[in-house]
């Protein structure tokens, strides 16, 4: 059943996302043109310079807008098919609520991931178009062994380890953004009226609670790290628990929001 849910989620969202990626492609071409013009500008045409700046600015705005639009659309689609009148169809399908929820979450996460990857690709293309391929050659000339050694010395983590950590953090961040909105919607639908207002209120309460917990954990971890530093321990013994703690904390938030949304949808669905 999960396969079927994914298939139809794809069908229902692919058209809109296709348009989003078409806009991204157009924005990239515009950005390339703008950046290339700026790079090769001899100062003869002021108009061309202004036009290039406008194009490049539009590109920056488009990239940010596309990422925000993807997130908003995914949340809107989830709301439409779950808690609005279309939810009547979704929740009368002979499918377990967890399968429906997983299907929607996986597809939304997938689209956000694709948007992120395509945005990075767009920036890469822009750099190639704007400043040529020299920077790629320069990348190969970097002394990676030295960089890795320096990072190990200061952060207690190798360069590949640091990149892996950043990727994990980014993926967990995407997932937690989605689940944060989902759990707020789930709480909001429990109420008879003013559901949007209660969703926003739930979001505020959850956000503040998460910030308080994170601050406490950071202070404790920071204090332990500082003590370790004073004792002259290796950077690794200071930073590793900090990095690990941030991932564990993200996983706890994600787990809590996932099961919160699932339990509310399963046991307290309220399509009045």
């Amino acid at each position: 059943m999960l396969k079927k849910i994914l298939k139809f989620e794809w069908k229902h969202t692919a058209k809109f996302m296709g348009i989003v990626y078409l806009i991204l492609a157009i924005a990239t071409i515009m950005g390339c043109f703008g950046l290339h013009s700026l790079q090769t500008d001899s100062g003869e045409s002021e108009l061309l310079a202004i036009f290039s700046v406008i194009l490049f600015s539009l590109y920056v705005v488009s990239i940010i807008g596309i990422c925000i639009m993807t997130f908003i659309y995914q949340c809107y689609h989830y709301y439409q098919t779950t808690y609005s009148v279309q939810g009547y169809l979704t929740f009368t399908l002979p499918v377990k609520p967890i399968t429906i929820f997983n299907g929607k979450l996986i597809m939304s996460f997938g689209w956000m991931l694709i948007t992120g990857i395509l945005s990075c690709l767009s920036v890469f293309i822009l750099l190639v178009c704007g400043i040529g391929t020299e920077f790629i050659t320069e990348l190969f000339e970097v002394d990676w062994a030295q960089l890795s050694f320096e990072m190990q010395r200061s952060l207690g983590m190798s360069f590949p380890g640091f990149i892996a950590y950043m990727i994990v953090c980014m993926l967990l961040g995407l997932l937690s953004y989605l689940l944060f909105v989902y759990v707020c919607m789930a709480i909001g639908q429990l109420f008879h009226s003013n559901r949007v207002a209660f969703s926003v209120l739930a979001g505020f309460v959850i956000y503040v609670a998460m910030q308080i917990i994170s601050s406490i954990v950071t202070v404790i971890s920071g204090y332990r790290g500082y003590s370790a530093m004073l004792r002259g321990e290796t950077p690794e013994s200071v930073t590793t628990p900090l990095f690990a703690m941030s991932i564990v904390l993200s996983l706890i938030y994600i787990g809590a929001m996932y099961f919160g949304t699932y339990k509310i949808t399963k046991d307290h669905l309220n399509l009045e």
Binding site: Y88, F91, T92, L93, P94, D267, L269
Partner: protein, 232 residues
């Protein structure tokens, strides 16, 4: 033999307001039941609980002796009182969706009914009139070989000619072993097809009787009895 639907002391409260209050009844297979009552009597709330869209506050609701869940959804075909489809979709896409999820969905029957009503399967729902959308929804619901069809106000938004077609569609497309639960205000239009009626008033079940018994014992039509019971 166990009842198709068994409802015992079912209650649903929205905060302090009780929409359905300790309602108990049973539905056997092969019956057409009218769920009748004025606005706000709890009909739609009861139907939504039967379809798993609302959770009861207390009481028991079983379908084939099973609580509401995946198994009950396999045997209940539900028509809500409003348009619940994605308006950007084409009719044929909705048919594919139903065929994928409901094992009992008969695609050829659906296409046959669409052709009867001259509805183009390639047309988008958003381009259709309200009445045509309702007909499409009814076609989707009646194209399933379900044990129970739950129809919430199936004839409310359409003209009298379309009403006749809808009632004919309902009667000619359901398996006689299956049951139909119809909620409506338009009693005179459907009373000839009913076997049993459930009268709801302020969330209470005030009458659960066979139509024959009502006619014999009360000597009046369901419409006349309804007007008498719910006199303002």
């Amino acid at each position: 033999m166990s009842a198709l639907v068994s409802c015992k002391d079912l209650t649903k409260a929205y905060g302090k307001k009780i929409a359905v209050d300790h309602v108990s009844f049973e539905i056997e297979g092969g019956h057409i039941i009218g769920l009748l009552g004025p606005n706000g009597s709890g009909k739609t709330t009861l139907i939504k609980m039967l379809n798993g869209l609302l959770r009861p506050t207390s009481g028991q609701l079983l379908v084939h002796d099973q609580p509401i869940g995946v198994e009950s959804k396999k045997v209940i075909s539900y028509l809500p009182d409003q348009t619940y489809l994605n308006m950007n979709q084409k009719v044929e896409e909705v048919l594919q969706y139903f065929a994928a999820f409901y094992e009992d969905f008969d695609v050829s029957r659906a296409y046959h009914m669409l052709s009867d009503l001259q509805i183009d399967p390639k047309s988008r729902l958003k381009s259709m009139s309200k009445g045509t959308k309702e007909k499409v929804q009814l076609i989707l619901v009646m194209s399933r070989k379900a044990d129970l069809y739950v129809l919430d106000e199936p004839i409310a938004g359409v003209d009298p000619a379309a009403r006749d077609y809808i009632l004919r569609t309902i009667l000619s497309n359901y398996d006689p072993a299956a049951s139909i639960l119809i909620s409506t205000h338009l009693i005179s239009d459907i009373e000839n097809i009913l076997d049993q009626v459930l009268f709801l008033q302020n969330g209470h079940l005030v009458l659960d009787k066979s139509v024959d018994d009502i006619r014999v014992q009360e000597g009046k039509s369901i419409d006349a009895l309804f007007r008498e019971v719910f006199k303002c």
